[in-house]
Symmetry: C2
Subunit: 355 residues, 2 copies
Amino acid sequence: MSTSPLAPRGVLYHWAEVLPLTGQTPRITLGEGDTPLVRSAALEGQCGLDELWFKLESCNPTGSFKDRGMVVAVAKAMESGARAIMCASTGNTSASAAAYAARCGLECYVLVPGGRVAAGKMAQAIAYGSRIIEIDGNFDDALNAARELTAKHPVALVNSVNPYRIQGQKTAAYEICETLGDAPGMLAIPVGNAGNITAYWKGFSECAEKGLSTLHPRMLGFQAAGAAPLVSGIPVLEPNTVATAIRIGNPASWSGAIGARDESGGSIEAVTDEEILEAYRLLAAKEGLFVEPASAASVAGLLKLARAGRTRGGRAVAILTGNGLKDPDTATAQYTPDITRSAATVEGVERALGW
Amino acid sequence: MSTSPLAPRGVLYHWAEVLPLTGQTPRITLGEGDTPLVRSAALEGQCGLDELWFKLESCNPTGSFKDRGMVVAVAKAMESGARAIMCASTGNTSASAAAYAARCGLECYVLVPGGRVAAGKMAQAIAYGSRIIEIDGNFDDALNAARELTAKHPVALVNSVNPYRIQGQKTAAYEICETLGDAPGMLAIPVGNAGNITAYWKGFSECAEKGLSTLHPRMLGFQAAGAAPLVSGIPVLEPNTVATAIRIGNPASWSGAIGARDESGGSIEAVTDEEILEAYRLLAAKEGLFVEPASAASVAGLLKLARAGRTRGGRAVAILTGNGLKDPDTATAQYTPDITRSAATVEGVERALGW
């Protein structure tokens, strides 16, 4: 499609050789992947680390990490002849699925838990023209229904139970190794449905095998305390947390997450909503990074480990999974805005500022 | 700061040699710049073009193109010893200024026109911890006050009247030339305060001088019909448009915009709110690109030129300046969501979908 001398941007171009593509896989892209890896300006010491880096997955085209895997899943669905895709979603997956479906002329069906999806994400799914079914139930109920429906109808399931999603998401680990010149010693990551921690571990393992890195990072997964089945060891029937993106009681990639934890010598722990919101505010106020609450779970976890004296230097990467603009209601609820009204005069503004 | 083998991401690293930096300029970054350039999947032909590419400035860390210039303006302010910055803003500038100020430990004062800033942008400025003054007046009144206040007090003005803003924003033109291997024949861009069209023209002119490109693109600027002073030739006292980011009646870079237009053999024209919103919906539904209304002005303009038979093939780049999530209210108002409620059963969802 392109006549340009450089390879186009996008996961299917940049990472073709590590993905299960064929000559028939359409090379679609919305410019996903190749996201910034930014060094911490303020929280590094507070987290007890020598180096802390943030992977800004919020800079993906639909504002979350989901785009990396979705582009592979949708391309493979098209290769197989699908004309429609379906997903269950707490919001980010549906935004991403709807965007790629719109771009590729596919129908997109989205099953969301009733009343539990952040407003911005719903606006995205609506704008991209997906058909939305609001389920009387939680995410896990929606995913069960989507599994059964796609088994019965000629519609491709694009949740992270679709292995192509994991394949695409692993590319973020490759990018981190490429940027840092090696894998970090630790990877801090929010855990909901557990596809992403599974994907990163797969990516880091492949990088080590291929000689692109020498280290296997310890995988530090963090769940919200109200939705922490991987911590307690049993599914949570009524998951509840302000971090809607990880409000999941029975993770589809349960065994992948446990494998990542155990093979890497890492841990999966819980952080409270208060800890998540503290990290959410700190990231914006001290680092200039406005993320969705679920993203802040990775930093909340590092701060918690540091307070317990359990971090001892080294280099960590924290995954910031989604953009703060996706959840305007939490932002509004978290702040008492410092807004003063003034006439449009120098004197008025000086008075308003107390100058 | 970094121990990694590769140069860090960011405008001050990637484009240092074309920016007015010194050894004393702090190399700050939020990972801005290096945004995707994505080929049109659907609207290319409808726009009467051989090739249409979208520059996704929405993928910058605060979700708009402002980050490119703000990183330079804030770094130079720090170099000069400033401990505080100020801007007038329709929203994107304040979000960007507040983010870099938070990251760098500076005070940030934001003057916004009362009741005319999109909700997401205000949420950003609040989360990043800026002090917000809501002015009884429009953007132009706020900018006048900011100019006078920063002349009187030791606070750096970071609006695009600050020449470092234009310097940073020009880097997007360099990136386009780098990705395409040459400048495009046409550049379609929304025009509000006119700093960005000025910056792109500067960037393309420099690329041609340096031998990085052979073409000078025709600069096609588009203003909202209710805020089109560069089209009418006289300032608009009460600018009004759904595209809040370009709701500006007396552009600070007036002469820069006219220079870009005339030197490039281009044009600056008006598009109505209806045309802007049509393009806004088409970008989401046909390209999978959810942008803020002002961004859609560039595509609305191309569609308008095509309908008048004024596009005749060639390669154009349209600048998509900001993320759709910044203006959730417009998104909500533009769509009748296709949402059906259902029990969490296969039969329920089948019924809901009419399967």
